[in-house]
């Protein structure tokens, strides 16, 4: 059974009377433990598609099934719950809370998931260990390098053991060395059985993935899987 199934997804904005088709009839299915890269020129709809998959955005028309459940029918609370338990986000700009320590940042999804304090602390610590930041748990974001910040963000994304990790240009704000380190973490996560979708402009990043989708003007122009 597929983890994610998008059918005839349209996302249409109306800007000053003009229609902008951010997604123009997209059909995709994604299976468990896939490693997918979404590519395409700027404005082609990559982020829109990503947000749709992450239940942050809703399609203008089209059907979205996540683990066999219709996302279209869900209310705000159900969407929040899916995002909390099933989806881990990694943003290009990290989006950490500046005043909170690394550990506290990683705890945030657990707080919203109503996990008990002691359990939360140990889960956050374990997630930070797994991205190699066991010794930086009590640092605040401004005391960390860009690469380290993104690793905190990854720890935060995976702490709830989600079904899928979504990363929108996760290396976009990093130098190539930090970018490589981040990609190593994604590779390891994929190796460990996680499903990963990332948006990138770089071919060498996309090369880590086993499947690549190319978008153009909101349409899927190419959907290519590496033969294992």
């Amino acid at each position: 059974m597929s983890l994610i199934s998008l059918k005839d997804i349209y996302k249409i904005y109306n800007v000053g009377g003009e229609e902008v088709r951010a997604l123009d009839g997209v059909n995709v299915t994604i299976k468990e433990n896939e490693y997918l890269a979404i590519m395409g020129p700027s404005g082609s709809g990559k982020s829109t598609l990503m947000n749709m998959i992450g239940c942050l955005d809703t399609p203008t028309t089209g059907l979205y099934e996540f683990e066999g459940e219709m996302v279209n029918d869900m209310d705000d609370n159900q969407l929040a719950s899916i995002r909390n338990r099933k989806i881990g986000f990694v943003f290009q700009t990290f989006n950490l809370l500046p005043k909170a320590t690394a550990q506290h940042n990683v705890e945030i999804p657990l707080i919203y998931g109503n996990v008990r304090r002691d359990q939360r602390k140990s889960m956050a610590a374990a997630a930070l260990e797994s991205v190699g930041l066991g010794d930086r748990m009590h640092h605040k974001p401004n005391e960390l390098s860009g690469g380290q910040r993104q690793r905190v963000a990854i720890a935060r994304a995976l702490v709830n053991n989600p079904s899928i990790i979504l990363a929108d240009e996760p290396t976009g704000n990093l130098d190539s060395k930090s970018g490589r380190e981040i990609m190593e973490i994604f590779d390891a996560l994929h190796e460990a059985g996680n499903t990963i979708i990332l948006v990138t402009h770089e071919d060498y990043i996309a090369a880590h993935a086993s499947r690549t989708i190319r978008l153009f003007d909101g349409k899927i122009k190419e959907d290519f899987s590496k033969v294992a």
Binding site: A80, S81, R83, F91, K99, P109, I111, Y112, N114, R117
Partner: protein
């Protein structure tokens, strides 16, 4: 849910502390509002206490026959030409009145007293009879009142108020000791308990009571006199009527003429006082409501700014699984925290203020009022935080994340 509450509280505290000055300025309206309501409450509690004590001093069943009215619309210069109250009428009233239980003539004169190096100016010297002890509510703390015989014989004996005892006989037993009133030597036979100030204006303890005969011989003619009549408390109006008739007769007031004396009672004080209280309460209430409303608007405004500033944070939190209600609670909590912070600050100021008020009237900050005030500031927090928090809760996660 508990950990979420803690988290929200943590966020609120750190947000308030991160912008201490802004939070304080924002909460200024609440600070002033809480300050106004608690200070007003303290003031009224103090006034109540002082008033009750003063009324106790006057006694609710005592009629004060005087030349001047305590209250009323008569001009003082009209009353100035009235003949003085005659001490000897006290005896007539005692004989003829049905309602009078005790009658004591009063003479008063202000002069200085001294003992060795200590002296006090402007001491109220009251001359009266032994009956005074039956009318006055002030208890003798040490010693005794003078006797009928001492009164008749014009002895130089004195019952002294607390201020006199404290100043002339510091750390000494005053009983049996002598001191000067004006140029005359008196012996202390009694000490009154502490009575405090009358309506916060003048001390009731800066007083000396001596036999009226002695008083008239040594001091009066220049001082004023009056008659205090204690009656049955339930017959106050009848007694007033009877005494008015009696006094008119004694002072030969013609039927067409107005009274040329006054029968003063405690009750007009009460009316006057409740009006003053209403005025203070009304003013305090007005200031409180006004500053809370203005403060509330300020807080709503700053909360809208906060929500705007933290749009990306809200988007991130939503992406991580915060429901609209959780976001609502977070910002509501922040607004409540600002108000609570302001409320506590206001209470601290009010506490300081109540210490100052306490110098003038014995008073205390009413605990209930303080708690109500805190509750009120929280309510302001809820009300003014509602719209901004709702706005935050309803933000579209994508728009919030894209917000620059």
């Amino acid at each position: 849910m508990f950990s979420l509450f803690i988290e929200n509280f943590r966020i609120s505290i750190s947000a308030v502390l991160a912008n201490k000055m802004r939070s304080l300025l924002t909460a200024l309206g609440v600070v002033i509002g809480i300050l106004a309501v608690t200070l007003m409450g303290t003031l009224i509690s103090g006034l109540d206490k002082s008033f009750e004590k003063s009324m106790e001093f006057l006694g609710k069943d005592v009629i004060y026959i005087r030349k001047y009215e305590w209250f009323g619309d008569k001009e003082w210069w009209e009353m100035r030409n009235r003949p003085n109250i005659k001490i000897k009428h006290a005896d007539v009233i005692r004989e003829r009145s049905q309602y009078a239980e005790y009658v004591a003539p009063i003479s008063e004169w202000y002069t200085s007293v001294k003992r060795a190096d200590d002296d006090i100016n402007g001491v109220r010297i009251t001359g009266t009879t032994d009956t005074y002890a039956m009318i006055s509510t002030a208890e003798i703390e040490k010693g005794r009142f003078f006797s009928k015989t001492e009164n008749r014989s014009g002895s130089h004996v004195a019952i002294i108020g607390k201020d006199i005892a404290d100043n002339l006989f510091e750390n000494e037993n005053a009983l049996g000791e002598t001191f000067q009133i004006g140029n005359y030597t008196f012996r202390v036979i009694g000490e009154l308990e502490k009575q405090g100030k009358f309506l916060g204006m003048f001390s009731l303890d800066k007083q000396i009571i001596i036999p009226i005969g002695t008083h008239r011989r040594l001091f009066t003619r220049r001082g004023w006199s009056g008659i205090n009549v204690k009656v049955d408390g339930t017959q106050l109006d009848n007694a007033t009527e009877e005494l008015t008739a009696l006094m008119r007769q004694l002072r030969h007031v013609r039927p067409t003429e107005d009274d040329n004396f006054a029968l003063n009672r405690q009750d007009p004080f009460k009316e006057q006082y409740s009006m003053i209280k209403l005025a203070i309460g009304g003013t305090g209430f007005f200031i409180t409501v006004l500053s809370l409303v203005v403060g509330g608007i300020g807080i709503a405004n700053i909360m809208f700014v906060t929500v705007k500033e933290r749009t990306r944070e809200i988007g991130t939190r939503k992406a991580l699984g915060a429901t609209p209600k959780m976001i609502l609670m977070q910002f509501l909590m922040e607004s409540i925290t600002i108000c609570l912070f302001g409320g506590l600050f206001g209470l601290a100021l009010a506490w300081g203020g109540s210490l100052i008020i306490n110098q003038y009237f014995p008073s205390e900050m009413p605990i209930n009022l303080a708690l109500t005030a805190l509750g009120l500031s929280m309510l302001v927090g809820v009300i003014s935080g509602l719209a901004p928090s709702y706005k935050a809760a309803k933000l579209d996660p994508i728009d919030a994340l894209r917000y620059e």
